[in-house]
Amino acid sequence: MSEHYRFSIRAASAAIAFALTAGTALAQVDLKPVPYWKADVEAGKLPPVAERVPSAPLIVDLEAKGRTIGTPGGTLKTMVTRDKDIRQMVVYGYARLVGYDEKYNLVPDILESVENIDDTKVTLKLRPGHKWSDGHPFTSEDFRYWWDDVANNEQLQPSGPPDFLKVGGELPSVTFPDETTVVFEWVGPNPDFLQSLAMASPTFIYRPAHFLKQYHEDYADADTLAAAIEDERSSSWAALHNKLDNMYKFDNPDLPTLQPWVNSTDGNKIRHQFVRNPYYHRVDSTGQQLPYIDTVEMEIVASGLVAAKSYAGETDLQGRGLSFSDIAVLKKGEKENGTYTTLLWPTGVASQLAIYPNLNVDDAGWQKVLRDVRVRRALSLGIDREGLNKALFFNLATPAAMSVLPESPMYQEKFREAYAAHDVAAANEMLDEAGLDKKGPDGIRLLPDGRPMELIIETAGERQEEENALQIITDNWKDIGVKLVMRPLDRDILRNRVFAGTTMASVWYGWDDGLPQPFTSPSYLAPRYQDFLAWPKWGQYYQTGGTAGEKPDLPEAIRLMDLASAWEKATTTEERSEIWTEMLAIHADQVYGIGTVNQAPQPIVVSDKLRNVPERAMWAWDPGAHFGVHRTDEFFFAAE
């Protein structure tokens, strides 16, 4: 399946400046009116379409992408499982300053163009005439407001501007030469900057200034602001401002947005409605403003019901909330109802299920054992990945150690195969060598301190997959004299126990991003974050600047740390690629996370009437934003 997803790598070339320019190969098109707004335009409530879209809109050549030109209209029904997941509309909508295209190249989206000189000076060019969803112009003033009055305002953001803007701890100089230009300049290269703007959950570096100024102490009239604070029962103007300023949470219908659909329902509801943004900046080659779909209806249901409701045909587009084990049911419903199709998309996580031996576990005896690389290798060799793949994934996943997927340019077969074969003899030999050669009467090895080798693996207990996989691994590990004890916990309890060093080993997905490019920051491979469950305390040490946790004390971990900082200083793609490869090699060799299988298919339910949804595509959070990179605004409903 891999050949479908070979990415072309955009070279973030050094020395020469490169510019990303939006696909405006087509000549300016004649804009067609949007039927949904016909009445409003006629009544004079909305200006005609030509005045709504930017004077240089992003023109999408659907046919060049292998898609068909659609017809506007219709309501898309989808489901999420938690109240706060209405923010998924920002993810699915995926209007970013720069975004990934379906081949994972970074291209300007909201921006007209980006000029990048050595990653040190980045000039963002806005589209002239671009407007917020309330019709107010979107200009460099919105960036300035964010930079000066939000990010650098101590009351609004006590921690200051976000970290990805800092190079060597120093903030960029941000200038606003004219209405449509914003320039970021650093002392050194900041290769992470543009990627960060394209994330599924990005840091928005602009704000609807005209709207938020009403709630900003420096701009608002003191009396009206005091009244507004009183009305909303907020403790201060900053609290009120932050409460209303939810570009990602998407829960404030009054906040103007640039996304394809605008939230039109307030408060906690079971059903949320999102209406098309009349000022959206993308049009198709026939001059039809996108999105094609008029409204999106998002229903909040219990997580167990997503599959059942999809089965009953109550959704038009669904990926979230469905898991591999639902495939059989969905296929059955597909046959019986005939209203939808179940597509199987490969997933972008590095491993569907990985075991993380905790190198920072409190128990000194166990810590010594788990830090022995031979033990981790033996545990990995002791897993029958083929059997697991067959039992749980109908052989549709790929048995693999935890490494990047073949779609990543840094992929190497030897990383995937590192200690991933099922070799009981070799595993036993390694464990014997590691000083675990004594066995108790039940065939379980004894630790050097005489305790039986009972490895307690804690799980979040959310997926049945985990439980079944651990059941199989329990049987596998019996052959190498290791007793696996599974302990299901709650997600938050599990994480807190890991962070505190109580947990011996835990089970989670592999790295979220299994598809890194050389320009993707490799900091998640280094002991920088406690979320990587193998080294919670080293991560804490980095995250807190040394006030909590422990300093990494294994040579390989220190090397990873050095490499991650070397990447930040690197200037060429080759250099970054090399650093990535070395870091991946360390991971493959040291088996910090024991991967099982990856590329397990994710079922995607698509209504038979919905068009332009790719047959096969990558289901990934970052980069990918789930449906985001596949551009939901280009999906449309075929006429009956």
Partner: protein, 384 residues
């Protein structure tokens, strides 16, 4: 007996003026309580059948491994989600004894389910009293003997198999070992506390009574679910499933005793005013003896009936907790654990046999209820 010429019968035995008129019924009236109870219980057909069924169930528990063809956690990787298969007797019109067909597993990539294609030409007669996986009689004596086994490499799944290819039938039998005994242990604990503390409170009254009443009220006011969450997190994770199970039944019992204690106390409050209690006290019987010899036997019928009626509640409690993931957990096997695995749409739509453990739960709970009903009706034989 002599027949007189005129056709009358006369008893040969000499007349005994001292014999009471009631002698013929004396044996009945003097019959031990148990016999009377039994006579009355015999007439309660439903209770009788349920009692016999439960007795059989409990007798089978220690030898469940004999009837189960496989160990509960035995995986058969090539036979996942296999539907229940029937044992046939007649092949092409002639009786050849119980047999099955061998099947071939095929993954249907259209539906993403496994299909099993039987080879209907060659019947494979079942083997009986054959050797198979090891199991232990009473958990002590190892044995390899099974009632029946598959004649070939292909496993036999009477009630189908689950995702990992484990035999549902075997798992239900082994699951019964935990599911049926959790109730008994729980009830013992609950009775021990309930009768002990309830009788002390009821008999002595006063300050002790007040303290016990308040403890009961506190226990009753505790929200059960969060308590359970906390307790299940507190059990050390390297404990074996049986130890966890034991703790769980004890906890179930500890939470359950207040109801029993209240009933016992109420009964004691009224009984302690009776003359026979006063008599015993005046003769110098110590409190312990009064409680044990005079008071408790007076309402043992009530106790036994309420015990049989609480056991199903305990079984359901275990099932509910395991279903929620708070009680027993894999690799332990109980009916609740099995149902926990079956709680998704696929199990209802495509693999309905995974929900079979519901049937034994329903049957056993009903049986206990009928049995308890029968006992309650018959335990007071002097009452009509």
């Amino acid at each position: 007996m002599t027949q007189l010429p005129d056709g009358r019968y006369v008893d040969d035995a000499p007349f005994d003026a001292d014999a009471g008129l009631t002698t013929p019924e004396r044996a009945d009236l003097d019959a031990p309580n148990a016999l009377l109870v039994w006579r009355k219980f015999r007439r309660h057909k439903l209770g009788l059948i349920s009692g016999a069924f439960l007795l059989l169930c409990y007798l089978l528990l220690p030898v469940a491994g004999f009837f189960a063809p496989y160990a509960p956690n035995d995986r058969h990787p090539d036979h996942q989600y296999k539907a229940p298969e029937s044992i046939r007797l007649f092949h092409e019109g002639s009786f050849i004894g119980p047999y099955i067909y061998s099947v071939e597993e095929v993954l249907d990539m259209e539906t993403y389910t496994y299909k099993y294609i039987p080879d209907t030409d060659t019947p494979l007669p079942l083997k009986f009293f054959c050797l198979g996986d090891q199991w232990q009689v009473f958990g002590l004596i190892p044995s390899n003997r099974h009632l029946f086994c598959s004649p070939t490499e292909d496993p036999i799944f009477l009630w189908g198999s689950d995702q990992l290819g484990r035999d549902v039938f075997s798992r239900i039998l082994y699951g019964a070992q935990l599911s049926l005994t959790v109730g008994l242990i729980g009830i013992s604990v609950s009775f021990f506390f309930g009768i002990g503390l309830g009788s002390i409170a009821g008999y002595f009254g006063g300050r002790i009574d007040w303290v016990i009443q308040r403890v009961i009220e506190i226990l009753r006011s505790l929200p059960e679910l969060p308590l359970w969450l906390a307790l299940s997190a507190a059990v050390p994770s390297n404990w074996g499933p049986v130890a966890v199970f034991f703790i769980i039944s004890i906890i179930l019992g500890i939470l359950d005793w207040p109801g029993m204690a209240r009933a016992v106390r109420a009964k004691f409050l009224s009984l302690r005013e009776e003359e026979f209690v006063r008599a015993a006290e005046m003769m110098g019987a110590p409190s312990g003896r009064v409680i044990r010899r005079h008071l408790i036997p007076n309402f043992s019928s009530h106790l036994i009936a309420s015990a049989t009626l609480s056991i199903p509640a305990m079984i359901l409690g275990e099932t509910a907790l395991s279903f929620l993931g708070l009680g027993l957990r894999a690799p332990a096997v109980s009916w609740g654990v099995m149902l926990n695995d079956a709680q998704n749409l696929a199990s209802i739509e495509i693999y309905p046999w995974l929900a079979i453990p519901m049937i034994p739960i329903i049957v056993v709970v009903l049986a206990f209820n009928f049995f308890g009903d029968g006992l309650r009706d018959s335990l007071d034989p002097y009452e009509s």
